[in-house]
């Protein structure tokens, strides 16, 4: 039986094409109709496919749908086809589902922006490439999606291309990704060289044929894994390539939610999880992954504490959460990583959308210091944001709690794990809960600190003023006495902060629900839940317990498994307790600093002095990069490549050649007198020469 997986990516592609080619003539309603319809259809089909996949017998998994041969050179063949197993199923559902919700949200959010059709065309394009990436059945097709999402992200970050900062951010993201893709590409070359194929199945089988001894081919596998890791760090914004993600916040908020929080940035994690067969064979690679993830999460969290731009805070928190996922993969707890990936998709998307709604509420302001007190203006946004914050902070009972705990526990317990990982992780968890609640408090509590009559014509303060709708034009001539927002979705023309339209609120609510219940698929045994997701993903990736406890699922030594499970659960419980405590500590501290004693933060900042400024300026990483890499590169290109080679050598030779030809022509031109008889004279002389030559040839 066939699932027609190809429909899932193709539908958004069709939407993108329609909107891209004809959208200019469509009305906004039409555009959104096309975009939503295509995404919804894709989501529905994905659900159907998922259900039918679960119905399949295990021996048919993974389900591979071959479309045809893409390229064939010698015995190296790349087919294009689709590969559906539990892992890609989860990714697929997350992408289509969250993507659909964000599309709905965007209808409300982008309503007043110019280039409406352009936006949705790009968004659908992104969906297409992301689904290609997720559903590909070989690395090359995955790479196509990989590059494609990079392109889509570039287009969407630079959506307000009239603004320099946006355009530059787009370029930055693109280039940073190039660096990573370079590594990934080389990894692919190595795969082709040593395995002669890029199909997942073949590669995994070949890897499995390596003798279990790590030594055999370990060097090769380590190299491949590390190069893949380079690519992953690029796409998933890990050290050292994370710098593009915060700047990517220049894009519209839904974009940040969809691409730079929920889906695209998790591509790296997905890739590592997909290649777990390779990674598991190389402890070195695993260790590096774990260390990078761990450091990134900690590092980004520290920066997140000091940021005041609401979206930047979220961006850094995204980086740090991605770091968690890498940590999970690094300790070979891929299922935990994917679990966190899923939950994180829910609540981080929710956070971004909420932030967007808040920005919408204050009419374009992104600085948290100018917000505050939005609780009473935008209740829906507040409550959903609260849920999301609790989820990410790890308050028990919400999705983030389960997934993050799973990661921490694995970091501590797994054979690849280490207590240092756990320590850094738990610290990060503390900081996470602190800055998230700081964000929450600064934004929604206390009184409103922003300007009443917002002068912004649209959220992003971008120069599309002309295209802003009449509603926002209404902002400018607004009446000062603020009326309390009776109906939430009223979007009326007053400068007061106000609730967003339903189109934006509904996705918030849905995502909130998901962020609450999303965790219960993975309640660990310690909390008397069967770790469903781990078992669910078991056929795709060997779980740590299985590796540690031999054939645990086979149930060869029940009592041993029992004992193992027992001590594990006791230890796990204590660690869980610690993390819960940490989460609440962060909450408390944030409450103390940003609600009770609001003078304290400044004092602390002063006392810290240099360290604070360093953190505030993101450790000057961008500056360091600029000085160490970009500066020299630009200098080299300018002096040598441009002025030296291009201008002097190439242009010089071409120009001088042209000059010489022209002068020659000038001298010869006078022979073209227009007089037939002189031409005849030339012809005659030439003929005489020919005759002489032939006679000479003939006579000698």
């Amino acid at each position: 039986m066939t699932l027609n997986l190809w429909l899932i990516p193709v539908l958004p592609a069709a939407g993108a094409a329609i909107n891209g080619f004809f959208g200019r003539r469509f009305s906004n309603k039409m555009v959104s109709a096309v975009a939503l319809a295509s995404t919804a259809a894709s989501f529905a089909w994905a659900l159907l496919a998922a259900i039918r996949l679960l119905g399949m017998p295990a021996d048919q998994l993974p389900y591979i749908e071959r479309i045809g041969v893409w390229l064939r050179s010698g015995d190296f063949v790349v087919e294009y086809g689709f590969y559906l197993d539990h892992l890609s199923m989860i990714m697929m559902l997350v992408v289509t589902g969250v993507g659909f919700l964000i599309h709905v949200y965007s209808v409300g959010y982008m309503g007043h922006e110019g280039g409406y059709y352009r936006f949705f065309s790009y968004l659908n394009l992104f969906m297409f490439f992301m689904l290609t990436l997720v559903l590909a059945d070989n690395y090359l097709l995955m790479f196509v999606g990989w590059e494609g999402v990079g392109l889509a992200s570039y287009l969407l970050i630079g959506f307000f291309f009239l603004r320099d900062s946006a355009a530059n951010a787009g370029k930055k993201a693109f280039i940073a990704n190039r660096v990573g893709d370079f590594g990934f590409l080389i990894a692919l070359f190595l795969l082709v060289k040593h395995f002669g194929t890029l199909q997942y199945t073949d590669i995994f089988h070949k890897v499995a044929e390596f003798s279990p001894g790590i030594e055999s081919g370990a060097g090769l596998l380590t190299a491949i894994a590390l190069l893949m890791l380079v690519g992953a760090t690029g796409k998933s914004a890990q050290i050292p390539l994370y710098v593009w993600l915060p700047d990517a916040m220049e894009g519209p908020t839904p974009v940040s939610a969809l691409i730079h929080a929920a889906t695209m940035v998790t591509a790296g994690v997905y890739m590592i999880a997909r290649s777990n067969a390779i990674f598991s064979r190389s402890t070195t690679a695993l260790a590096v992954v774990a260390i990078i993830g761990c450091l990134t999460s900690f590092f980004a969290a520290t920066i997140g504490i000091t940021q005041t731009d609401i979206k930047r805070v979220l961006a850094y928190s995204t980086v740090s959460q991605l770091g968690y996922m890498f940590l999970a993969c690094g300790v070979a707890a891929y299922s935990a990583g994917i679990f966190h990936l899923m939950t994180h998709a829910f609540f981080k998307a929710l956070l971004f959308l909420g932030a967007g709604s808040a920005i919408h509420a204050v009419g374009g302001e992104q600085d948290m210091r100018k917000m505050g007190g939005l609780k009473k203006y935008a209740p829906y946004t507040f409550w959903t944001m609260l849920i999301a914050t609790c989820a990410i902070a790890g308050i028990p009972g919400l999705s983030g709690f389960f997934s993050k705990d799973e990661i921490l526990w694995q970091a501590f317990s797994s054979p690849h794990g280490h207590w240092a990982f756990w320590l850094l992780g738990i610290t990060t968890a503390f900081m996470t809960s602190f800055y998230m609640f700081r964000l929450l408090f600064m934004t929604f509590f206390n009184e409103y600190r922003g300007p009443v009559a917002a002068q912004h014509t649209s959220h992003e303060a971008q120069p599309h003023a002309a295209t802003a709708s009449a509603e926002h034009a209404g902002h400018t001539h607004a009446v000062p006495p603020p009326a309390p927002p009776t109906n939430a979705h009223d979007h009326g023309g007053h400068g007061e902060p106000h609730e967003s339209p339903w189109a934006m609120v509904v996705p918030l609510v849905l995502l909130a629900v998901l962020s609450v219940i999303g965790g219960y698929v993975g309640v660990p045994k310690a909390l008397h839940g069967g770790n469903h997701i781990e078992h669910f993903l078991a056929p795709v990736m060997p779980t740590i317990t299985a590796e540690a406890a031999g054939t645990a699922h086979g149930g060869a030594h029940p009592e041993q498994e029992q004992s193992q499970a027992a001590e594990d659960s006791s230890l796990e419980l204590t660690l869980t307790g610690v993390s819960v405590a940490v989460a609440f500590a962060g909450l408390g501290l944030a409450w103390l600093l940003y609600v009770k004693r609001r003078d304290l933060p400044a004092k602390i900042a002063n006392s810290l002095g240099g360290l604070y400024t360093a953190v505030l300026n993101k450790y000057y990483v961008d500056e360091i990069y600029g000085a160490a890499i970009i500066g020299p590169l630009i200098a080299f290109s300018t002096r040598v490549l441009w002025r030296g080679i291009d201008a002097t050598l190439i242009d010089g030779s071409v120009n001088s050649g042209a000059q010489g030809v022209r002068e020659l022509g000038d001298s010869l031109r006078h022979q073209q007198s227009g007089n037939i008889r002189s031409y005849a004279g030339w012809v005659t002389a030439g003929a005489a020469l020919v005759i002489l030559y032939m006679v000479w040839m003939g006579t000698r």
């Binding site: 007198s673 227009g674 008889r677 005849a680 004279g681």
Partner: protein, 100 residues
């Protein structure tokens, strides 16, 4: 008995006269005549060699040359008339606008 070379030399002389006409005459019609003269000289060589090798194909070539000459005469005179209509002269030295 006339040596074959006489005919060939005769044709060479005629051809040279044609070329000379092309070089020194100024009336475009006369120049055109010089071309015909050259064609005739070539025909003479064809006929001569055909007679020497007893090969009829030489005559066929002569035939084709004549056909082409007739066609060329038609087109050439059409061109001459068109030129005369616009430039009001038959002197090729005055028809020399086609230059840089």
């Amino acid at each position: 008995m006339v040596p074959i070379s006489y005919y060939l030399v005769l044709s060479a002389i005629l051809f040279a006269c044609g070329v000379a006409g092309f070089l020194i005459k100024r009336n475009i019609i006369t120049i055109f005549m010089s071309i015909e003269l050259m064609l005739n000289a070539v025909n003479l060589t064809f006929v001569t060699f055909a007679a020497q090798w007893q090969a009829l194909s030489g005559y066929i070539f002569v035939f084709f040359v004549m056909v082409v000459a007739a066609a060329e005469a038609a087109v050439g005179f059409a061109i001459i008339i068109a030129v005369f209509r616009t430039r009001e002269t038959l002197n090729v030295d005055r028809v020399n606008l086609l230059k840089l």
